[in-house]
Symmetry: C2
Subunit: 180 residues, 2 copies
């Protein structure tokens, strides 16, 4: 989707490897947007990530392929619901493969898709929650970027490389794309 800012309410969908920087970008973007009335023009932005749903709305779901699909189906509907309630949403989900991403994105009318690009080596080095380490010992099986595939999205509206760009630069680029 191009020109998200011309649409009334929309979802920014950040996809990328674990530790690529999705949630960090989302937080910085929201802080910038929600504190600047000239920038947000009175629109509220809300973040959504796995921590908002796992053990809560989606506590009935595990990590099988079917459950991952159902998890993303619900996130898609949830984002659309927020948009219908006149709130913009910034989603941070690995959403690794084309079919899993479609499971979510098919339910959202206005999506701005952002690929948060970062090499697996760099993500593993950051390893904020120690999950890459567990993936390497086999404690976490089917870990995206190590033992499970990640499909680079072919139809991203924007690519943000978090190895080459600073956090501020990522947010600037995202805002330019949304507003420009």
């Amino acid at each position: 989707m191009k020109k998200a800012s011309n649409r009334p309410f929309f979802t920014i969908w950040l996809t990328g490897l674990p530790c690529s920087g999705k949630t960090t970008i989302s937080k910085a973007l929201l802080e910038r947007l929600n504190n600047d009335l000239l920038l947000n023009r009175g629109r509220r932005f809300v973040s959504l990530d796995g921590d908002d749903l796992r053990g809560k709305l989606n506590s009935d779901l595990g990590f099988s392929h079917e459950d991952r699909k159902e998890n993303l189906r619900r996130v898609g509907h949830l984002s659309q619901l927020f948009n219908e309630k006149e709130l913009n949403v910034v989603c941070s989900f690995v959403s690794p493969t084309d079919d899993l991403r479609d499971e979510a994105l098919n339910h959202i009318d206005n999506v701005f898709l952002v690929f948060v690009e970062c090499s697996a080596d760099k993500c593993a080095e950051r390893d904020v929650k120690g999950m890459w380490a567990k993936a390497k010992t086999g404690e976490i099986p089917m870990f995206t970027g190590y033992s499970a595939p990640y499909d680079i999205p072919k139809d991203a509206d924007l690519v943000l490389n978090t190895e080459n760009l600073t956090l501020d630069e990522c947010v600037d680029k995202l805002l330019d794309s949304l507003i420009g």
Copy 2:
């Protein structure tokens, strides 16, 4: 819950028979609140009812007792999620029995429970969507108030009788209870 207005963010839960007036009250309340900055003090109010979820987030659910429970479990988590995102929620769900209501309310930290009281005869007379008529011909089985039970909540924070009060009076009373 008393003194909802002293809590940062909360859910107003309207329970009552089909056609008792829940959604009508919710709409009027939101219109009043979202257009009056002195009243809402910068807080946004969002409505949630069955139409927001059936065929969408909860399209995988039918009307068996188990599915109704799962429906309300998700609505509970959803309301809490909205509250965590700094939005107040007004929920309109029949939520007929104590166990079904608990399924939702147990997941919400701050709930203001409102019993929207109206006799079955009056609800059937209004019959906005023709569902009471279908219940009487048996086309809709297990219809709350006709062929399925409704438990009057013992712990409501407020009772609004829509046979005795006008819509404006209901909204005034609700606002008084929240703010007073």
